[in-house]
Amino acid sequence: MVMKNISLRLDDKLTSRIEEISRLDLVDKAQIYRKAIEIGLNEIAKELAIKLYYGEEISMSEGAKLCDIYIGEFMDLLRDRGITQKPYTQEQKDYIYKNKDALKPLFLAERKKILKYKLKNNNK
């Protein structure tokens, strides 16, 4: 993995904490900085994704991409935070229901097939 150098200004409190963790965990400071940034970044991404999803600015797939997680995990994240979609607009609702019966003949034919199969097996 290619690493890039960045410079940051951090206050004394933060640097002291990192030094303390480094001393106790016997891990070099750079590793702790990297881990802290990664964990913090994941949290920031999650908060942003939830906010944007709730505001209907992004989809579930986009939210998952932003968090670098699977869509199913993003669904779980939304569930854990109690976030639900806003209701459909009347126009969206009308369009969804306008076409609802388009597959009906196909499903009814399948139902007939199932019944025929059941009847055949009952007569055996």
Partner: protein, 164 residues
């Protein structure tokens, strides 16, 4: 068997709610490669739905097909939607087939392009109406859709009332 196109989140929800097993004998699902990549990412952390979908792909019950790139570019100019949804809509448009989609921006684009669509909930409703799915199975699927699909309470209550 009728061909329908699906986007990633709807396909995952169909698997989580088990509705995919009820539509399998009737519908052949087509997905673009980008949707496949998004769904299969679930295997990294052992998500059951990702394995189930992969299994269906291996058994040719779900087909991977990319839309014409020209179609994708055209739609990209018109709509600000995620790549997965955009490719799925482009494929449905190109094949002149219905699409399974739950994303609101995607629904708006389909409305504009006059592409017939089903959401997981409208599909569940139709499956129950045509008695392909029993009341108990429909209620269980609805429970899973409520849990994972993050549908508004209004939408869930609306379907609940119909499954009686």
């Amino acid at each position: 068997m009728e061909i329908v196109v699906s986007d990633s989140s709807t396909l995952i929800l169909l698997s989580k709610s088990k509705l995919i097993y009820f539509i399998k004998p009737v519908l052949k699902i087509y997905i673009p490669e980008i949707v496949y990549t998004e769904v299969i990412k679930g295997k990294e952390k052992g998500h059951k739905d990702a394995y189930e979908i992969e299994d269906m792909i291996n058994h040719n019950e779900i087909i991977i097909k990319n839309p014409n790139q020209k179609e994708v570019i055209e739609l990209q100019k018109m709509y600000k939607i995620d790549a997965g949804e955009l490719y799925a809509i482009a494929l449905a448009k190109e094949l002149n087939k219905k699409i399974l989609i739950d994303d609101k921006k995607g629904i708006n684009a389909c409305n504009h392009l006059n592409i017939k669509l089903y959401t997981c909930l409208s599909l569940l409703e139709l499956l129950f109406e045509t008695k392909i799915i029993s009341k108990i199975d429909a209620q269980e699927s609805l429970k899973q859709l409520e849990l994972h699909g993050r549908y508004s309470k209004i939408k869930i209550t609306d379907i609940e009332k119909k499954i009686v």
